[in-house]
Symmetry: D2
Subunit: 332 residues, 4 copies
């Protein structure tokens, strides 16, 4: 009988239709003038750590979504794009098989999960400053449960800069899975020329590769931080490869930059071969051709990147939306 909801029910109003509209929504301001809204199934968890507010939402369009300080970090249905792109290129391009990998941030666990799929990897050091976020993700994100239990994973709760400074050993790959560089923001100092030069590069082993997430990389949004991160890394490393991919839940194309003093010279076929040899299981997003496409930027973005002159230093930052002019000024 379907749409005959017969009720002399408990309320003032009752609809005879089940086609009523979705009524619970998650809403994010991508920019001041732009909103992106997901219908909600439920709010699984909310909490606050000393560093940030956290929420785990069950959204209709993108599954479970991790939200930190009001910004979507990761959504169940498409986080594989971000994490495969962040991890696999650097590990595959590494000429000898990478054994030791360092993650700056990464508390969600997905970056570690993808690294641990590489059979050659013997040790993953994940260094996140927020213990509660790590605990939250460990207990709520089932997909990363195995990663968190993997004996090859060393979890350190510390500031990534301090941790790297305190270490003597080198890493084959260092991965930046950090918040974007906002002046006055938590991670700004982990994107500067001096950090790359004095902290990161000395901790890379021979042929070592550094890769970092690099913020939005869309046709308009790439000028926010992507082009500057690229240009800053170019000051320090001989070979720098920017690449990008559209992530639906972010409502934008996202960017990463990979850098090394050894050249990146593999064909799509080489990448596919190494993928087969080195990675357990099947990638969902990344393969050789995908990387060809991702690392061939469109005309407008290529031009911006080659014209970029800004270099991140401790005294000169670029901003990304989300924090308000007021705030920036307060923190200056």
């Amino acid at each position: 009988m379907g749409d005959i909801s017969v009720s002399n029910g408990s309320g003032k109003i009752s609809s005879p239709l089940n086609g009523y509209r979705k009524s619970c929504w998650y809403e994010e301001e991508i920019e001041e003038n732009l909103r992106w809204c997901f219908a909600l199934n439920s709010i699984l968890h909310t909490g606050a750590t000393p560093y940030q507010d956290i929420a785990l939402l069950d959204t209709k369009p993108f599954g479970k979504a991790l939200v930190i300080d009001g910004k979507l970090q990761s959504a169940e249905t498409d986080e594989f794009i971000y994490h495969e792109c962040l991890v696999h290129p650097s590990l595959l391009f590494h000429p000898s098989s990478p054994k030791a990998v360092f993650i700056m941030g990464g508390g969600e666990g997905s970056t570690a999960r993808e690294i641990l799929r590489h059979k050659t990897v013997e040790k993953v050091t994940m260094c996140d400053i927020d213990e509660e976020v790590v605990e939250f993700c460990r207990s709520h994100l089932l997909v990363n449960r195995n990663a968190f239990c993997d004996p090859r994973l060393e979890l350190v709760i510390n500031d990534a800069r301090a941790e790297l400074e305190s270490r003597n050993a080198c890493f084959d790959v260092i991965i930046g899975d950090l918040a974007d560089p906002i002046e006055g923001g938590p991670c700004y100092k982990l994107y500067t020329k001096s950090f790359y030069e004095c902290i990161v590069k000395p901790r890379l082993s021979q042929n070592g590769i550094f890769v970092t997430q690099a913020g939005p990389a869309g046709i308009f949004s790439h000028t926010e931080v992507f082009s500057c991160i690229y240009n800053t890394l170019k000051q320090i490393f001989k070979y720098v490869v920017p690449y990008s991919a559209h992530i639906p839940s972010f409502a934008d194309t996202w960017g990463w930059v990979m850098a090394s003093d050894s050249p990146f010279s593999l064909t799509a076929e080489d990448l596919d071969l190494r993928t087969k040899q080195r990675i357990k299981g099947e990638n969902r997003y990344f393969d050789g051709k995908t990387f060809t496409s991702a690392s061939t930027l469109s005309k407008a973005v290529r031009q911006s990147l080659s014209n970029e002159t800004h270099v991140y230093t401790e005294g000169a930052a670029r901003f990304i939306y989300g924090y308000g002019t007021a705030n920036r000024h307060e923190q200056e």
Copy 2:
């Protein structure tokens, strides 16, 4: 240190401010062109019965909110207005002390709760068609827990019309706590002239009073169903008193109509005296002056009511928003 959220955190973006915007919202279409949105703390429960969809939300502005089929039924912070207005006038105006009360609908339990505060009441028969809603409310709405356990409460799961027809005994007060009369909707037949004449009135004892919720009663919205319910009851009862009150969470003024063949002739002071004598505990909204105000309608509404000619019959309905023209046509 407040607004310096230092994190080399687990995500792509992290805000240095805790002033980011509320991100989870409940949204209701009051009318096609009008929305009313509450920030959410959490979604406590969602479910579906054979008759309707139910949700219990924890909202920031109005506390816990019961939503049925996408329409707010009742919010923790102000449901007392609706339920005190629905219950107390009829029970207080009843000349001898009312002993037996029948509730059509009322599964939420709040109507029973208010009735059971009347010391003279010996039996409350609550007749709701949707057992699962009743169970849901019994287990989730703590404020009504005592009411559900009160030995004077008789809970019947049945169609209110069928139940009243099957009974021989009479009631001092019959209360309609039903969804609005939508043609083709679940409760339409419980607002018609013939229902009042043939089913309700015969089940009222000497000096008995009938009262029903009567939909929105705002300066514009009272023409949807309030004026018709009033006019329909006028065909059957000698004395009919419409009254209204603004309910913040409904974003409107709400209406009730009380009817009897005995006159309603108490002053505000009389009502206050009877309140003291008959009702346990303190009312939050209702007293004599409140009723004076509530039952003195504004010029525009008084005129509409006195000009109303429509009478609800099984073949001639009036509509309220929320169900779509398409739906109405399908059901014709």
Copy 3:
């Protein structure tokens, strides 16, 4: 053929249905956690004066709407409620026929319009600080066109306090049509005890009446400023009458307070008689019974008002939502 929209049209996507959803909306944050949204027909005008931002919107539910600094001021379909309630009680209660009326603020013109309907009124002095808002309303609000042209209207662009101080003549009625008293806000000083005592009262003629809009007066919201304005006026005037009415477009019940050293002692019938004698044309909202209802507050509001101890002085304010904690602190 209705819903067969045959188009090999100009776009990527075209809907075969005309039932698609409303897509342009005006959204107001009533409180931080509460939004009120109107579907839009069009944005008729936007602009900025030295004092404030203005917009005139054509909304589907409430017609043309004047929005100042992101807050709805007045909507075509129901501004008559606000303006009839602000103007008619004071002018009708005035024992001899009021001739001279002073409006503090009122640039929209609707307050003047209602005053000018009183046949006994010889002069209306409207004193608004923002010339551009007055010009904007004069040219866009057709309903007030006659009022703006009435030879009895004297329009002064000035701060109301300075203007009243500079005057020697007295007024039969002084009307406050100002923004709410926000500490640090534009109008705060026009709601203080000393302002009422030293500026307003000396400019009232024998039996003169002062009335002011008094902010939201809902069951919860009346504690924001309504109860304090009431209590502050009680310090200065012998007779003080608070009253309220639900205004749909404001999503709340609104309040006004009327004060005098002469008693307010008319029945509903008296008010109706004077309305007939003194006012040209028909009121849409106000009459004697409406005022009985409006000035009989509900139990909860009556109790708050009689318990209120706060008095507005230049050093002690109460706040209303809409300006942000940050802002308040900046202004301290």
Copy 4:
């Protein structure tokens, strides 16, 4: 003095801050559970043709936006991506210089504008069924004004299928700038195997190329229609090239499919050379490398396309979101 809004103004509430929130929004349901919202400057125009509803909005994030039947068609700031991708590949890959081009749909004028930049083009036939949309765009979209006046443009108001059938001459390139193929929708029949085989292909000259917009092509959304359009064209043409690009205002990656019986065999460098030779002015998005990236699909999309078995015929359709289940059923 900026943020000191001193006003004894015309309203009830006035904010001392100019940082109040954006209040007018355009809202689109990308999918049932996904909304995309742009702050509005103004609503420039709304209207209805016999075929569809039209609106021209001035949005803050994307400039002027053309909305048809509640769906964004084109936004000022990024329509160049869509239109350069639709037009330039086919015209550049054409071995001899294309002279005659036919546009199915395209009433907005932007497709014609891009074609007319090709110096070799002698005649563009634009065939749109909705004369009013064409007139609307001609008068409102200044950026296309020159294109509408170009003597090489022949504008025909007709159904594209009927028009092509009635013609004897052939075209070097035929471009489909139509709404997506929705069963029962306006354009469904212009995406079927039989239409391509019997209507389009016979009207292509030697080495002729057909290209069509092909709906969303994101990692999830490409299965809606993109993969089927690709597979349907593969049944009819020897060489078929699918490609895609992220369009920010669409909140998705978009797809196009190009098809011919002659091979597409140009390098990125060849394309750049031909661009210089044939196209007046500078492209903003398209160049050789951009096409390399756009036509190298990611792993997941490539696999879906190669596994696709569905072929559009008049009796078997695939759907895209936006029209409601109810509607689909009605039209079956």
